[in-house]
Structure formats: structure tokens, C-alpha cells
Amino acid sequence: MGEQKLYQASANWLKSAVDALCAAGIEVLAPTQSESGKVDLARVTSSEQVIQSYPNTAFPLKRLFLPMSEVLLEYEKGEEGDVELGPKSAPAKELVILGCRPCDAAALEMLDKVFQWDYSDVPYQEKRDRTTVVSLACSEPSPECFCTSVGGSPQGSEQSDVLVFGGANSAALMQINTAKGEKFIERLADTVTPAPEGTKLPEPTELEQKFDPQKVKGWLDENFESNFWVENSLGCLGCGTCSYLCPTCHCFDIVDEASWNRGQRRRNWDCCSFALFTLHASGHNPRPDQAARYRQRLMHKFKVFPERFGRVACVGCGRCLKNCAVGQNLLADLADIESR
């Protein structure tokens, strides 16, 4: 897209967008709050379920494209030993995501890179193609946020079909980035109007840079073997929380689940912190301890990914540090690395 188009919307834009889309029979995901108080994107059928004020959602977007568990294949064995393969994939329904944050949208960039690497991952791509991402620029980043340190910004528009400025419950300015975004605007019809010529985007929100990924990479390049890995992973439990909540982590496992003559092949999330992630069938494990696994997580994000895909695989959402059961702090670790 050449030049960005800007639209204006009223304070109630989110709710009216939900209603308009639902009315058009389009699936909508919008922020809702669960009983336990968690804010998350969920399928909504009316604007009443939607909440409007939140720092970020509990979950990133990845599970919408790489579900926690998805059926890749169904099969049924016949009497004569023949095998019937399925399912015939149903045409994907249009989906609009409303109200994610720019960092989460930006993470789709990394997922796209992986899932479009030589081979186009069909299950992923189908979902990606049908989805319009409408994200909400951040005006008040949380203390854990550090997108600016990893090349993002609270107003970053990467992979957002539409980026909305001004919050969910105030008059808003919408920046249209893609054709999907255009279509979205069309659907909203009269609740939005093109912004007057010369309308300026708000001043970018300040967010100090907490470390320098370049410097970090420099140290990582030299320190595959270092006591750092052992010392800093002593507390790590090797659970999957950080990866599972990370918008860019995308490792998966493929398993078959079968009854007598039929079954499914499923793709489930997996995680490099797990002890058995790389265990060979022979019993040999290239990453035998938590230190090696913890190193993989950091190396993958801050060294391998930049080398292979030109960008760190972290968008600075801060979920991993917020949710770690033992207070393992990526930011602190990176700062530590930088200081070495």
C-alpha cells in the first residue's frame, strides 16, 4: 500500500464495530473479561460482552492461527486395509480481530516468516488469510513492556490491517494499512468517516529502550558455553508457561490419536523448555538440562531468528516475565547479558 489512509470514528466505535460485523455474519473476536478477571480476546456475538479498557490481553494472537490443538488429518482404516484420508477442508469463514495490541500484531510477522518459509503451511495460512487484524495503539504501556527495545513501538503498525489510535472508549483515528483494512472500513459504513486532509497521528508514546538487542546478540554469538546459562536457569521449572503465552513462540508437536480404526493427526503446542522436546528415540538428548533449554529459548529469539529471518523473535509484550511462576525475568536476563 502506498499511502496510509486515515479515518475518524466516534468514542463508541468498538461496540458499534462489533455489532456491525456480527450483523454481517462475520466472526468477531473482541476483548472480554472472564470470571477470574482475565481480559482476553473471545468470540462475541454482541457488543455487550466487550470491554473497553485494558493494558493487554492475557493471550497473544497466535492461538488463532496456530491453535493449541488442531486437527491436521483424519483417517479411517477400512476392512481391507485401505485408508481413507480427510477431512476435506471447509472454506474458511471471515474473521475480524478487534482490539489486540500492536506488539501482538507484530508477532504475526515472525509467525508468517516461519510458516511461509519455503513451504507455505496451509492450515496456518488459511486462517491468516481469512483474518483481519484491527489493533489498538498503546498509550500507556505496562511496566513490563519493552517493545521499543526489540524494534517495535506502542504505535507500531506491523501486520495490523487497521491500527486504531485513541483508545477503545474515546474518539479514534484509524490508520488503514491493507486491503483487508479497507474492507473492514467499508463494513463499518457510516460510523467512520475519512479523516480530514492533514490529520496528524498522535505523538508516539514514550517507552524507554531497556536493552540493545544488537549488543545482546554480540554476547550470544560468543557465549554458547557460559556459566550464565546454568546460573540463570536454576530457578526455571521447565514449564511451558512462558512459551505458551509468548506471541512469537510457535513450536509444535504432531501426534496421532486413534481408536480402533480411525483417528486424527493433531498439531499441538510444544515448548523448548520441556525436557523431552529434543530427546532422541535412542535416549540421547542434545539439550540434556534446563540450562541448555533455557539457552535455546534465548538464543532462538535473539540470535537464530535474527540470523535467519532478520529480526528478533520477541515483541516485548512482557507476558513471559509477568507469568513466570518463579519470577524468571527475561528483561533482567537480557540486561544482565548486555552488561557482560
Binding site: 486413534a258 481408536s259 480402533w260 480404526n261
Partner: protein, 596 residues
Amino acid sequence: MTEETIKLTIDNQEVEAEAGQTILDAAKTLGIEIPTLCYHPAVPSAGACRICVVEITAGARGALVPACAYPVQEGLGIQSNSERVRQSRKMTLQLLLARSPGAKIIREMAKEYGCEELRLERKDDDCIMCGLCVRVCQQIIGTAAVCFAGRGPDREVSTPYKLLSDVCIGCGACAFVCPTEAIDPAEFCSNPLEKIANEFNCGLDNRTPVHIPFPQAVPNKPVIDRENCIRFQTGGCGACQSVCPAEAIDYDMEDKTVQEDVGAIIVATGYKLFDTEVFEEYGYGRYPDVVTSLEFERMVSASGPTDGQLYRPSDGKEPKTIVFLQCIGSRREKGGVPYCSKICCMYTAKHTILYKHKVHDGQAFVFYMDVRSGGKNYEQFVRRVLTEKMATYLRGRVSKVFPRNGQLVVRGADTLSGGQVEITADMVVLAPAIQPSPGVQDLAQKLRIGYDQHGFLLEAHPKLRPVETNTAGVFLAGACHSPQDIPDCVAQASAAASKALGLVSHKQLTREPTIGVVNELSCNGCFECENVCAYGAIEHKELRDREGDLTATLAHINEGLCQGCGACAVTCRSKSIEVQGYRDDQMFAAINAISR
């Protein structure tokens, strides 16, 4: 100990004896019999009765000396039956005969020595005052319950002051040694011993504490019943030890728990009879002439308490009418057992024959439900009883047995004639149901073999593995498995024996392959498995690195001990134990197959 041997001649025969032996002992080795009365090998001799006198003819001053007390000396020459000796004995016997003419042994001896009736004043006392009882009581039993009392002609053996003795332990040693059967401790013992019922004869007669259990016992040797033995109860007596020439009795022997490692076990614990007392209507236990078939079996046995004479218990008269009742408890859902005891029909038929042999003019009746005579020649046997009119068979149940005028009335139904019958009989014989031996369930649980609701032990398979059990190495024989007669028992026992031999005749044991195996890669070494293993098959295996340092202690299953029950496999959370043949993937596949 250097044994000094002494040479002497008795009746012109040379003999070697040990120092300290008596002439009597030496004569015994030559087979020369010297009569004795006051002598008992277990009791120190007193030479009191002088019936054992012998004549010294050489080596010492010629004299008559008591052989039982006179020690052997080198070069001694003895005549045991010289004229002089015979005269002396005759004299002695004459005196004794006068004192105790009723004593059998004295009469017999006197006859042998040609004594006549004496003119001396007759005393009618069997006691010959030999004092053997006093000696045995004092010196052997150590009780001194009896002694000589009085002087001169009033001298007698008695308890002190002729009172009932509470010192007497009633051991009966005195009676045992008394040559003339003149003493009976029951007369003066204040706490006489109870008679011990002879179990083998169903309590129909008595036995001593030291006894041979039954005529065919193997080994055919006596045992001491400690419950009743005075030695064990009070520390006294010891008579059997002192009399046992083989010195086989050792009271200090303890019961031993014998532990044997065996390769096979054959269970042949047999049966017991149904407790007939529960059926009050038959009067067993109330009327002495109602007996069980087993008691009857003993009564007519030549080795039984009556030496094969049939007497009825109440008054010892020969029973002229006898009624046999079959199925006492058998085939009786209520109060009895539902199954047929199988052997009763046949032994009852046998009993009628036996009865006819003993009481030629007797009349036998049999109440029966069905006569089941399956088996080789069995039907012919029963036919013989019927055709030869050994007994009258009445099909029906007996409702009541009750006494009338010193006899028993058996009232029952004869279903064939359709009428009530009453038979007045001298004796009634009940054929109780067969049940497994008491305590067999405990044994089965110990051996980990099964039993049915009646307690009969279970075979592994009724057709294919009839003498094996579900526990490898344990086999069944006989009535513990089901009611069966001797031929069946023997057949089964032979089969079991050959199975057992088959098992132990191999150098190596083949065992079931279903045993547990530990996956050492995932075992945590928590040993929760060890706690649940009933066989102690889980061992601790130490893993060491190249330097020999202990790296881990893991579970290891001893394949010889493991029985493959799988308790450990379920207990192991990490699923580190698999039971071969029931591996998890096999179980999984089996479960999967239900969704077929």
C-alpha cells in the same frame, strides 16, 4: 572312658560283662532267663523278693545271691538253675503264695516250681511286699507318695497315714511296675488323671499319653502327647524314659519348626465329618447308641477298641437290629451341604455286610435318598447287599430317633410304599456329610490357591488340569479337593505325585514368563513398588559410573520371586514397570479393541 570288661561263666558259658553290671544283666546277654519279681530294669534293684537267687560256684565264697543286685566279678562262676537255687526259689514262692494267692504271676510261678498249698496262714493280699512300687515312686518319679507302713504282719504298702494323697500325681508308674497288679493309684490319689480318649477309635476307648497314634501310623512309633503327659505337666514321672531300652525318649526335645525349601507341594488335607449333633432329631450325642459311620467303622474293625466285637455302647449288648441313615447333612440345602458326599452309599452297603458278618441273626435297615453306586463294580456290590438280603433298604428320610424301653425308635417315611415306618432298633448309624478339613481356608490362603464356597480346594481347570492349582508347584490330592473314596484318592494322588516329579525332575525350572521388568531409564528409585510387592521381589540395584561412584539406586525385579501380579506396575506412577504378557501397550490395545 575305658571300659573294663569282666569275664565270668554262667551255667558253664563264658560271658563278658561290664563293670557295674549285675549277674542278671550278664545272664540276659547269654539269653539265660532268671525269674524276677521285685526287679524292673528302670528301678534300682533291692534284691528284696529273692526269687532271682543264683548260686556262686567259683571265684567267691559259694553262696546264694540275688542276681538282680549282685555285681559281676572277674572269674565268677554262676549256676542259675541249680538244685540249690530251685529249692530256694520254691521256698520263697511258697511264702508268697501264702500271702498272695490271688496274684496271677505268683500262681503261675508256683506251679512251675511245684509248690503245694501251704499250711501257713493265708493272707488275701496281692501285694507281695516287694517294694518295687515304693522304689519307683521314690527313686524314679521322685514323689514318694507310697511307702511301707506298719510292722510285721501289718506291714503294707500305703500312703502316709493311709490318707488320700495329694502328693500322688496319679502317674500310674507304681501300677505299671507292680508284678502282681496289686496297686491302683486311683484308690489313693486325690487328683487322679483323666482318661484319655483314643482319637483314632473315635473316643471309644482310651490311650496313654505316650502312644502309637494308630496301627498303620508311619513311622510306627510312639509319640508323647504333652497335654496329658505328667512329665510335661508337672515335671514328675519320666517312667517311659527310664524304661525305654533304646533310650529314645528325650523330654528336652523341643518342637521344631522345620523349614524346607521344596519345589512342589501336594495338598492332601482330606476331610472331616459333618457335625451330626446339629440335627437334634437324630439324637446323636444324647443317645449313646446313635453313632456315626466312622465310629461304627472302628467298632467293627479288628484293630478297633473292641477287637472287632460289635457291642452297643450303652450296655455292651450285641445289637440285633441296626438302622443306617444315609445323607446326614448331604444334599441338604438347609442346615446341611448341597452336594452329594459320594462315598456314603458305598460304605453303608459295606457296613451292612460287615454287620451281617458280626451278627448273623441281626437285622439291618438303611434309609437312603438314592443309592449312588457309580464306579467300577460298585453297582454289583450294592446289588449283592440287596439280593442277599443283607439289609432292608428304605427310600426316605428319617424324621426322628427317640428312645423307648431301652431301645431306639427310628421314625421315617418310606416313600416307595408311601407310608410312615417306625423301626425299633438297638443301634442307629449316621452317615454324615463330608466336609473339608478344618483350617483348610487358612492353608489355601497361605498357598495362594483357591477354594469353593464349601472350602474344597480348587483345581486349575476341572477338565484339563484337575490336580494342579493356580499356583505353580502346588497340587491337590484326595478329599481336600472333593468328596471321594480311596481309589479316587489314590488315582489323584498318583497323578499329583507325577506332576510334582515332572516339575522337580528338571535341572532348570520353567516358569511363567509373566513377570515384571523395570525400565531403568525412567525408574525414579522411589521404591513405592517395593512396598506393594507381596513377594519381596523388588530389589535395590545400584548403578555406578566409571569411577565406581553410586549414581542411582533403582528398582530391579528378581525374576525368580516375581509372580507377575502387577501391583508394582500400577503403583509406579512413572509407569516404569511392565508385566510381560500384560504390558501397557498390550492392555492399551485390548482396551482399544472395544471401540471396534
